[in-house]
Subunit: 345 residues, 2 copies
Amino acid sequence: MTTMLKSPLVLGDQGSFFFGGQVTKSADGDTLHTDAAFARFQAPPDPAWPPIVMWHGGRQFGKTYETTPDGREGYQQIWVRRGHPVYVIDQARRGGASQASLPTARPGPTADALVFNLFRLGIWEPPAEPTFFPNVSFPLDQASLDQFWFQSPTVLLHEERNNEDRDFHAAKMGQLLDRIGPSIMLTHSHSGAYGWTSAMHRPEKVRAIVSYEPNVYAFPADAVPADTPIDNPLALGFSPLQVVSPERFETLTRMPIQIIFGDNIQRSTPNKDIGSQHWHLSSRRAEQFAEAVNCRGGRVEILHLPDRGVRGNTHFPFADLNNLAVADLLSEFLAEHGLGAPASR
Amino acid sequence: MTTMLKSPLVLGDQGSFFFGGQVTKSADGDTLHTDAAFARFQAPPDPAWPPIVMWHGGRQFGKTYETTPDGREGYQQIWVRRGHPVYVIDQARRGGASQASLPTARPGPTADALVFNLFRLGIWEPPAEPTFFPNVSFPLDQASLDQFWFQSPTVLLHEERNNEDRDFHAAKMGQLLDRIGPSIMLTHSHSGAYGWTSAMHRPEKVRAIVSYEPNVYAFPADAVPADTPIDNPLALGFSPLQVVSPERFETLTRMPIQIIFGDNIQRSTPNKDIGSQHWHLSSRRAEQFAEAVNCRGGRVEILHLPDRGVRGNTHFPFADLNNLAVADLLSEFLAEHGLGAPASR
């Protein structure tokens, strides 16, 4: 019943540690350790390529990149096999991160339909049954779907979308990068904005940014794009602009950036299909972002997986049934920039 | 700066999954996935020995058994190297477990002095400085101590000490054991009681129980021991009796059980030394437990590490500086029962 690896995995290194925590002292002289983020890492013997730091998205933790819901190898193992040290993190206040300094109230759990829709497995309008997208590259059995839903850990506050929160997490990431050295920053969804912010904090420590379906994009204060109209105001609320100084923004021109979108992001869908609407808006914002970075001399490219014949991807392309094909396209990108081996499957 | 393995680690298997969750359906037909526990596993190629399930204690999560605070190999890696599949869990509502069905309030974070004292690193009475026990087998540098303190994740409710809570967690463990087969159950501190309860749920699936400093012990309703007097009422509150039916209790006679205590558990210490007082009481309870099981035909043994010349251990012997010596004594126990290889370092 366990998940068997296809072939043995030989590790030259493995471990876990906390980073970026804070220590406060109380009036009576006791101390309090809180808000550290947590990293687990594995590396092949004598790694040939730079580390990849994998940062989970909203309502998720590091598990995102581990064993897939149907028990196959996730990105964590795939990229160790491809020669990179891999650091999978739980951001502060999530999963295995250390105890949070937050107030004690927390939001209640998130029900399943929102996740099913927003993460583009298909469309579910209870009390009707959920319907997968016809071409979806996600396992259709109930056990896998259950694993996917159980993958949302307790969230201590709703995902925030402001620069203060981004700076909070990026400062911690800066400490990780200081420790492990220049790395490839791989982000997903909500952590997309943390990736831009981390790169602006430590541009010399970020060799490339690879972002799967980010929903927030940085823009320089002197060139904020016109808004992107869309029917669903809820979807609009998910993709606010991240406005930063032109000087900070300029640092994003210093490393190659690839932004990847999956499938079933239609340009014209019923208003209530929040998943499609939202990621359509996000892909429009990605184009505005690419233009802003590239006209300042940067190297942002946008990859829609279906344009390369890789179809049916949800919001989690790195875990979908075709995640090895998705990884091959990333190998291509990394090899192009001298940061990884070409795909050789 | 990363933690280098002493030698490569070859894995035949590795992965992670959720178990024991619940699915509820709301009036509108939406569903809600909550309260699954989480397991990460690694196995050597062709494991020769039964799996070891490692269950963290109170205020902790699976990290307890991973890289030690000073960056050495923890029990998770040590026991994969010794030929066992190792399953490290985050119990429901902790760490990487799925979102909790609990009410949204949670206790605030725990300050450091209590942890330092209760987990027997030494004695700290703020505003004085913390003082390590003179012989403590714990790294004395600040960075290691910080890692140790950061290791406490957000706790969603204070550790409960009642049979309802134990049954809740043991039922989930039963599902894990059904999936992975007969295993050695390794518990620590608060999870000691979960281990007894899990074994009573699935006696045929538990090959042995190894418990590091458990603080609660099961007793049959028809033979509850006299109370153990101790000066500090707070310490007494930590070790309540777990009363179960004689029929359930009898199942604990079916597998070998070893209970291990570390060092600096003095029999007569100042009243305010909560750590020593508490674990002294716990070791007295362990003797009562051993007698209750053994006089019914069971095989419980108690190992005080200093009695074997292994000194300075805190409440976390499996992570202390001498954790390989501690592991050797466990190898001895497992080999005696045909469940593991003799130590061969």
